[in-house]
Symmetry: C2
């Protein structure tokens, strides 16, 4: 039976990236040695590192005064690395869900955190609006897409202080005006690769402004070398995860880039949200204007609450994988990242319709 | 042409582990989904996590009061995580090379560092002996194998304070009496897997003794859960790197375990050191009693210094990869980790003999 992968991350990756990964494990760059066994100091690997950064630059139109880093330890490590590198006294945070809260917790080690606005009052089902970003904050932190609650900030906001975004689950899903941000970071394991590597896009002039001594691995400057080929090579990088990222971005470029992907993502999301709105069995959990095009959260409608496990079983029997909702929301969540084919979304929609017929 | 991989890390891995990795990328655990695309919260993955920890326990006879963690960020992250978790006021370090020095540098963020002994006077070509470990230190840190300088501590030492060892490049190469250690850590990318994951074996009662607030990712306790299946899952783990570690340890177990591997490693190392000592073209750089069985460093003898590049070319043409020495030592370095087959060492020895004949 055909499987449709709606995992929230790690998640479905482009088939060509998977095939390249397998080829590279057998033999990397005609060296006679596989990608898992090469030295990260070989010219072939230095080329991949540079090309990967170049693909980031090209796909997101990253200006020259930003550096792109690939680091181990996940986005969770960045939760404290960001304030360690940027916070003098106070940072402002938008409280939009579980991951924002984790970022807030780690920031408190380095100074005061001002919660500018929160959507906790309605279980993080919307993105707060109409707030004022304090001009005395060292930076303003947002979680642009909330994987667990299925809400998303669809546009780049203006901020009077450096804007920092955790884009773990929507990076490369839409064009981004990088110049509006100070730092963009995230884990790779949704749109840009497998687990094991985090990306950090940082405006270089923001660094080195603090008196705080920083451990070498925490200091972003350790990972920025003068040459692109040695960047992110302060220590042994997560070679294979970066290689799969390289192949994933190549696939994205060949497909037409982030702009084309954004159109496809909106179409996929519309297919699914339209069915949720049409089908009386289901109800979307996120405020309509803030619905994520990456993570689609829905529950059974009130009169059909008893059918939740029946639908999960029904869908699982039809090859749907990973659609059980996070315990914080319940119900269902379909993560339809870049590499999730339209065919998978169509299959899920059909599954929802078939279930409706048999109820 | 057959290639022989002597890379210092990342480096050669067992063939069966590579084949399993490829199979798992195609389909993990009969899920219809590949290992790069599965959720780390699926039962199949939780089983792999548990089995991997169990393999560590079995192979190294790890007592129950120690936890085994698999973390991102490399051993370089542990350079500061160790003092962050253990240092109250002062730690003692053995200064045996480049990596020891990096560990010392990061420890200074957390308190005083006492250098108990150093081999810097002779370019780290030996392991200091006859030193006294201060009883008022919070721990004593050693680098059991010095990858760059080719020296190794062949036995577990006694320490009046918790012993901490960076075993990045000799873990699983010999039996270790874990009970003599407080923490053993290292990067996987030599003997136990590809780049992207670090291991930490920690005696649990050493944790939580400090007033220092710790960032969640830095606090080892975050990664220790009550259940083995959720351990090292505080954030998304480097799934694939851990999977290859799992397969590498399975291979080691099938081969007979660490005790058998130790015998094989000593034999391989003896083959190569014997040739270095016999062949007048070459000289070993490490003190004989401290010679590493993992990283074999040698240079051209004084009267043949001019032939260095000629031998490198000669060996490269015969399929030897990664034998150029680190710039700190010069000459050559053959890293002959667990997965390096005896055949490769024999080929290198023959290469040295053939070069001798044509000189």
């Amino acid at each position: 039976m055909k499987k449709y992968n709606f995992n929230a991350g790690p998640c479905v990756l482009p088939k060509p990236a998977i095939e390249s990964a397998i080829e590279a494990i057998r033999d990397f760059d005609n060296t006679g040695i596989g990608i898992l066994e090469i030295s990260h100091r070989t010219p072939g690997w230095e080329r991949i590192m540079k090309e990967t950064a170049d693909l980031w630059r090209e796909l997101l139109h990253i200006p020259d005064n930003y550096k792109v880093l690939f680091l181990g330890g996940g986005a969770s490590t960045q939760f404290f690395a960001v304030p360690a590198n940027l916070m003098k006294k106070k940072a402002a945070y938008l409280k939009t869900g579980t991951w924002a809260n984790k970022a807030i917790k780690e920031a408190k080690f380095y100074g005061d955190v001002e919660i500018v606005a929160s959507s906790e009052d309605k279980n993080y089902s919307y993105i707060p609006k109409g707030y004022t970003i304090p001009e005395d904050a060292d930076y303003f932190h947002i979680t642009s897409n909330n994987t667990i609650f299925g809400t998303e900030m669809h546009e780049d906001i203006d901020s009077p202080v450096p804007l920092v975004a955790d884009m773990s689950s929507d990076i490369m899903s839409r064009p981004v005006d990088i110049s509006k941000y100070g730092i963009i970071y995230g884990g790779a394991q949704k749109n840009v690769g497998p687990a094991g590597v985090a990306f950090v896009i940082v405006r270089e002039d923001l660094l080195g402004q603090l008196d705080r001594p920083l451990q070498s691995m925490v200091d972003y400057r350790s990972h920025i070398s003068d040459t692109e080929k040695n960047r992110s090579m302060f220590n042994t990088p997560p070679v294979f995860s970066i290689f799969v990222m390289h192949e994933t971005l190549k696939w994205l470029k060949e497909l037409g880039g982030v702009e084309v992907m954004h159109r496809m993502n909106k179409e996929k999301a519309a297919l699914l949200y339209d069915e949720i709105d049409r089908n009386t069995l289901f109800v979307g959990t996120a405020a309509k204007e803030d619905r994520s095009i990456m993570n689609v959260c829905f529950v059974m409608s009130d009169e059909h609450k008893d059918k939740e496990s029946a639908f999960l079983k029904f869908a699982t029997e039809r090859g749907m994988i990973g659609i059980k909702g996070h315990r914080s929301v319940g119900g269902f969540r379909a993560s339809i990242y870049n590499a999730c084919p339209r065919e998978a979304v169509e299959a899920l929609v059909k599954c929802m319709q078939d279930f409706e017929k048999q109820v």
